[in-house]
Amino acid sequence: MNRLRLWLLAVGGAGLAVLLVAACLDLPDFGGDRHPYGDRAVHASLLRHTANTVASVNFDQRAYDTLGEMSILFAAVLGCVVLLRQARDEHRAPPEPAEVARPVRRYALLVLPVALVTGLYVIAHGQLSPGGGFQGGVVAATALHLLYLGADYGALERVRPLGLYETTDALAVSAYLVLGLAPVLAGTAFLANTLLPYGTFDTLSSGGTVPLLNAAIGMEVASAAVVLLAHFLDQAVEIEEEHGS
């Protein structure tokens, strides 16, 4: 059977490789100058006073894609919560405090606030400079988990009321949707960025609803990443199967 798989793999892989290489040779040369959609996107972004065009595409021009993306994250987190729940034949055993070398501990406690602030900064400046809700959210969430290294699991669990993060995650998704639905109530298109003033170019409040949607995403990603990491940590550290099962 294994032999059959290797044969299939060889045939299928070779066929796909030929197809892909032939396609690559027909592609426009790397670094070409023709990007019609991209040029339009830059123009539209400047029209709406959003300095970071990528943020404008993500949260204004193609905000509907981002809605799908955040729903994927939301669904995956919900899925992980459901899949990694404590099964009927499992129990929790509080882990013994692990020995962490003192320099590591100091380093972790030192980096933690810096990383948290960096995360928040990156979220806040999403529409101006590279970065945004997504990147900042992950940084902030991962930073929180330095506590596991810096202190111990108990300390981490105390500053991490999971229920609160799950609720925040869901509320952030709701906020994004409500921001999208408000224009429909006002008689225009879903997720239209036409209700708020676009502000002064290159300031924190520029871009209409872009900063608001960006903040919602930041909140969602940060809490989603915390919940995800927490459930995997729980599995790795705390949840044990009943012996003899």
Binding site: R5, G15, L16, D26, Y37, A41, T167, A170, L177
Partner: protein
């Protein structure tokens, strides 16, 4: 009105988010009522939009109307087929929620709303995919649909088979989705656009000499993603493994509409992106879809016949029927498209009802195994009757909607392919009838066990403990679904209405009608008679119909090994490329 088009996506998502936010404090009954209201409200909205879908509604999300012909926004298309699929998905979600009402296993502690919320997200994702007029946006909702489906399939984490099936499902479908995305990137490189219609124009403008290797590769990659979802041979291996183990309400959605959305995606993407002179010639698409579709129908039917795990048997019958849909879509005539649409509607009702009946067996006896349940189903009269009726609907007995759709498609396809339609529907229906006769009537001797198979005994019921009687919701829901499948064929003018709205959305814009014809009725009756005969033979003479030697290699291919499935996926892309190659070489 057109501003409401994205709402069938937004409303269920909002409902799900609010349910998760408040779910831990609400009692279960409140959560279920809320889920029911949101899902039902969305279904009503899709229906209202559907009634208003002529002429086609389009909406640029984010209020980016095109300047000239070009926009930076995302297009949502509300034509008959798109809103029809969204309505079907919404109504089936509603049925699945009603089916799981109160009796479905207790939700995880502290997450009362989790199951309902996941179902709502699933509904929103399916609506989003159906309505997408932008290729990347379609990918996003395709992926959302997949992610929710993985989680729902593995929902019963105590079941060894469930988590394995869910992982196989996840890996194969994610790989398919990445192939789809590679295809989108190639199309973007060529045309610099993402809206489907604009990509189509771009291909025609840049490739007046006909398609080249780039177009072929993007076609193959995009179709790989969609056909993995539609479970065409040889991309189909994940489906029986996943559909057989998912919770019953989820099975109803997976088999009833998600797989069909893959076939719908093929129709939509070919029609808007690749149908022009710069795309893939019609003859090549017909060759590829008819070949793969017929192979899928035959493989699905044969594998369906040899199953003893009832849900797995139903899953293979879904494979067989999607094969039939693909053949119908492959011939590229408005009549066939209309027929497939009707067939798909009827099939959704019948298949969901059959899964609901299998679920009732599981919750009553803790088994879905044809052999071990032999004769034990006698007390469940209503479920047994519905199983038999559902099987006849699957065979395409007039006046079921499946029969009307099948007849119209057969007529449009014509020729020797009619045999495939009759055979595949008769064999799958025969298998279900055989199960019905053995389980609910206790007919015939108990069959012997085979060597290489999946048994369905020793399963955990999906309810809290075994049920002593089947609750009313679990009998009402399949009854309503069967009645709906019947109504598709019976309500006068409905067939023509569907056929017209599909034809209007197609490239030709032609007039189409769907009527009962003597020819079609005869073929439908023939399938049903054949199914009954096959089932009777199997029950009376089990040895004659047990797996012969030639079927064994086919069964061994379904190895349950995810590595094999990945290898087959690569082979499938190669086959697809080879089937579509002549048109590229000829240009």
């Amino acid at each position: 009105m057109r501003h409401l088009l994205p709402l069938p996506v937004a409303l269920p998502l909002l409902g799900a988010a609010l349910l998760v936010a408040t779910g831990r404090r609400l009692p279960r009954i409140a959560v279920e009522i809320a889920g029911f209201v949101v899902s039902g409200g969305t279904a009503a909205l899709t229906l209202v939009l559907l009634l208003d879908s002529a002429p086609t509604m389009t909406e640029w999300v984010g209020a980016w109307p095109p300047a000239g012909r070009e926009s930076v926004g995302i297009l949502v298309v509300g034509d008959g087929p798109a809103l029809g699929m969204a309505t079907l998905a919404s109504l089936l979600t509603l049925a699945a929620l009603a089916y799981s009402w109160r009796y479905f296993d207790a939700p995880p502690h502290g997450h009362t709303g989790a199951f309902t919320a996941l179902m709502l997200v699933f509904q929103g994702a399916m609506c989003g995919f159906a309505l997408a007029g932008d290729l990347f946006n379609a990918f996003v909702f395709f992926e959302l649909m997949s992610v929710v489906a993985y989680a729902l399939t593995g929902y019963r984490i105590d079941e060894a088979k469930a988590v394995q099936g869910a992982l196989t499902f996840g890996i194969v479908n994610s790989l398919g989705a990445y192939a789809l995305l590679l295809g989108i990137a190639l199309l973007y490189a060529r045309t610099g656009e993402l809206a489907m219609a604009r990509i189509g124009h771009g291909l025609d403008a840049t490739g007046p000499g006909g398609p080249d290797a780039l177009v072929l590769a993007s076609f193959v990659l995009v179709l790989t993603g969609l056909l993995v979802k539609a479970a065409a041979v040889p991309f189909h291996f994940w489906l029986p493994d996943a559909h057989a183990v998912a919770p019953t309400p989820v099975c109803m959605l997976l088999s009833g509409v998600m797989v069909e959305l893959g076939a719908y995606g093929v129709w939509r993407v070919y029609g808007t992106v690749f149908a022009g002179p710069g795309g893939i010639p019609a003859a090549d698409l017909t060759r590829a879809l008819v070949a793969l579709g017929a192979l899928t129908a035959v493989t699905g039917a044969v594998m369906c016949w040899y199953q003893r795990h009832i849900k797995r048997l139903l899953a293979y019958s879904t494979v067989a029927h999607t094969g039939l849909f693909l053949v119908g879509l492959g011939v590229l005539t408005p009549e066939a498209d209309g027929g497939v649409a009707l067939y798909l509607l009827g099939h959704a009702g019948v298949k969901a009802a059959l899964f609901a009946c299998a679920g009732a067996l599981l919750d009553r006896f803790g088994s879905v195994d044809e052999h071990s349940l032999h004769g034990r189903g006698r007390p469940l009269r209503a479920t047994g009757v519905m199983c038999a009726v559902g099987a006849l609907g699957l065979a395409g007995l007039p006046p079921f909607g499946t029969a009307l759709g099948k007849a119209v498609t057969e007529e449009a396809v014509g020729g020797p392919l009619t045999v495939v339609y009759v055979a595949a529907s008769a064999i799958t229906a025969g298998a279900v009838l055989r199960v019905t006769a053995r389980v609910f009537l206790g007919l015939g001797p108990r069959p012997r066990d085979a060597e290489y198979e999946t048994s369905g005994s020793d399963e955990e019921p999906e309810t809290t403990g075994l049920l002593s009687r089947i609750p009313d919701t679990m009998t009402t829901v399949p009854a309503v679904l069967l009645a709906a499948a019947l109504a598709v064929g019976v309500v006068p003018g409905f067939g023509t209405l569907v056929a017209r709205s599909v034809a209007r959305a197609g490239p030709g814009g032609a007039h189409a009608a769907a009527h009962w014809t003597a020819h079609g009725v005869l073929l439908g009756v023939a399938s049903a008679v054949l199914a009954v005969a096959l089932a009777g033979l199997a029950v009376i003479r089990p040895d004659w119909t047990s797996a012969p030697g030639w079927a064994a290699p086919l069964r061994r291919l379904q190895s349950g090994h995810v590595g094999d499935y990945v290898a087959w996926l690569l082979v499938g892309t190669t086959v697809l490329g080879a089937l579509a190659l002549p048109g590229v070489l000829g240009s």
